[in-house]
């Protein structure tokens, strides 16, 4: 007869389930929920006062800040802002920073629907303006960084892309971010600029866009498809290509046709942690923030 170990299997499985739940709960607090399953998940940095001798250059404040700040930032800022968050909490041990990294357009949509954001950092002015127009931003946004779009191909370059011209080669699988996503807009601008150049010609634009096989949700999704080798070429930010390192090959876009991505940051009007939010914005725009951004490959924002 078939053995029936159910009597022992069930309590064993329940114990395993309990262990998993305890482990998951016992770790970091879970925070920053992202309603869209496909977007990168949010990360939370607990207010652990790490015993670091090389302490961060903390801007002395009258009273130590305590509380939580919820930062909605563009996907391309994932790594640099996570590092900035760690530095910020080192300097302000009473603070917890919660991140929500998605495309700037998705974040703007969420803020329009009253998502609890304190700081918004966008990869283009258009998405920030969208919120300013709806009076959802406190004060004036400030540009804190700039970035450059770049063409990326898988490390082994299956379609043998050597330059921007090759984007119009028949059969190339091109992946871009969606039209409303900043990098998606920038990419289309670049393609348009190239087509205006007599060396490329107007047919370039149609040929390149005919190679488009997918409009991804954000820049990291584009990067993922390239890293996986599923697509032949994509357009992401130079900083994303740096993050991927050896997994992708970056091909420069001719400077005459390239656009400069400007990243504004601002405190959200409905924020209930306006003081900490302002402090975080100041941190990003300050010496430490600028250093982290430049280490990650971002260009400095406009002066002041």
């Amino acid at each position: 007869m078939i053995a029936r170990p159910h009597a022992r299997l069930l309590p064993l499985m329940l114990a395993a389930l309990l262990a998993v739940v305890m482990f998951a709960c016992g770790g970091d607090d879970s925070g920053g929920s992202t309603p869209i399953a496909t977007a990168p998940s949010a990360t939370v940095l607990p207010a652990a006062a790490t015993a670091s001798a090389a302490s961060a250059t903390a801007t002395p404040t009258a009273e130590p800040l305590t509380g939580t700040v919820s930062v909605f930032a563009a996907s391309s800022l994932t790594d640099v802002f996570t590092a900035a968050g760690e530095a910020f909490t080192e300097a302000n041990p009473g603070v917890t920073v919660e991140f929500n990294f998605q495309s700037s357009s998705a974040l703007a949509a969420q803020i329009e629907e009253a998502a609890p954001a304190d700081v918004y950092a966008s990869a283009d002015e258009a998405q920030m303006q969208r919120l300013v127009d709806k009076e959802l931003i406190a004060g004036a946004p400030a540009v804190f960084a700039r970035n450059l779009p770049v063409i990326v191909v898988p490390a082994d370059n299956p379609a043998r892309i050597a330059s921007a011209t090759d984007l119009s080669k028949p059969g190339v699988k091109l992946v871009l971010a969606g039209e409303d996503v900043p990098i998606g807009r920038y990419a289309r601008q670049v393609i348009g600029n190239l087509a205006a150049d007599p060396a490329y010609g107007p047919a370039f634009k149609n040929a390149a866009l005919a190679n488009l096989v997918s409009n991804e949700a954000n820049v990291r999704a584009v990067l993922a498809k390239i890293e996986l080798g599923e697509a032949d070429a994509g357009i992401v930010y130079r900083t994303d290509a740096m993050v991927s390192g050896d997994r992708v090959l970056a091909i420069a876009i001719p400077q005459s046709a390239n656009v400069i991505a400007t990243y504004p940051i601002a405190v959200v009007d409905s924020s209930e942690n306006a003081e900490i939010a302002a402090a975080f914005v100041a941190f990003i725009r300050g010496t430490e923030g600028r250093r982290l951004l430049s280490d990650a490959g971002f260009e400095p924002g406009s002066g002041a």
Partner: protein, 282 residues
């Protein structure tokens, strides 16, 4: 306090009072978002405008076509699978039964990642497919495969239970009367399992129609080719059209889904009374 004896006289529904409150709460919870959606859509007046936009029409057509193809494939492959699971006992039977149920509990994004790893250009089998010129990601075929993966188990499970509940005596009698096994299956077994088949088909079709995560990861999102209605709704929500764009498209999908459900129920009605489960609400 269950005074079932005292209440039994009122139409024979002793638990009616006790269960009414939680049941009503549940019904309200399910109905309110749908009613709110319909009300907003009618109020905003954007629905008709959006209905005629190529963006929405492409997504609608793609959704209906892919989910129908998925259903047909699920039937073609799932009916034999369900029958074997119900009627035969082979080594690893329990394991296969669990495997069939797995896509139902798996998050769709995990399914998408799995499909990509298996059938992507650099995937386990994708390499062979690419060698014969068959590249799946970014194609409508990929959409169907993603939908099939997540929705077929609903059909198989429902049908398996249906087959299991049929007394094998009917099939034995048919065989004894000299009818071939295949004809028996077609004329005796399958008609008897019709309610389970139809329930499973509804669930399968519904799940395929609403599939999002696996599609996005495996097939990508491109208007007319891979951007189904759920993907279009997300895209609209994140665009400058914002929530109103999403509401309009959602309302359209709601109507289509309602239509499909009613269609299925009408088909079920034509099932003879002796086959219909008498205790279930028709």
């Amino acid at each position: 306090m269950l005074r079932s004896g005292a209440r039994a006289g009122r139409g024979g529904m002793p638990l009616g009072r006790l269960f009414a409150a939680p049941a009503l709460l549940f019904a309200a919870f399910v109905l309110l978002p749908l009613i709110a959606l319909a009300a907003r859509a009618i109020g905003d007046g954007e629905v008709v405008e959006r209905l005629t936009s190529p963006f929405v029409l492409h997504a609608l057509r793609l959704s209906v076509v892919t989910s129908t193809v998925t259903l047909l494939l699920a039937l073609a492959l799932g009916v034999p699978a369900a029958y074997l699971l119900a009627r035969t006992r082979f080594p690893g039977h329990r394991f296969v039964a669990i495997l069939v149920e797995l896509p139902m509990v798996l998050p769709p994004t995990v399914a998408g990642v799995g499909l990509l790893v298996a059938f992507g250009r650099r995937g386990l089998f994708g390499g062979w497919l690419a060698a014969v010129g068959l590249e799946l990601p970014f194609t409508t075929t990929a959409v169907v495969l993603a939908q099939l993966f997540v929705s077929a188990p609903f059909l198989v499970r429902s049908l398996q239970a249906g087959f299991e509940s049929i007394d094998p005596t009917y099939e034995h009698v048919s065989a004894a009367l000299g009818v071939s096994a295949l004809r028996t299956f077609w004329r005796v077994t399958l008609p008897l399992a019709r309610p389970a088949l139809l329930t499973g088909a509804v669930l399968c079709w519904a799940r395929a129609l609403s599939e999002l995560g696996a599609t996005l990861i495996f097939a990508g999102s491109f208007e007319g080719r891979t951007q189904t209605m759920p993907l279009a709704i997300i895209s609209a929500f994140e665009s400058s059209a914002g929530l109103s764009g999403a509401i309009a498209i959602s309302a359209i999908l709601l109507v289509v889904a309602l239509f499909l459900l009613v269609l299925m129920r009408l088909t079920l009605r034509s099932v003879p009374a002796y086959l219909r489960d008498e205790t279930a609400e028709p």
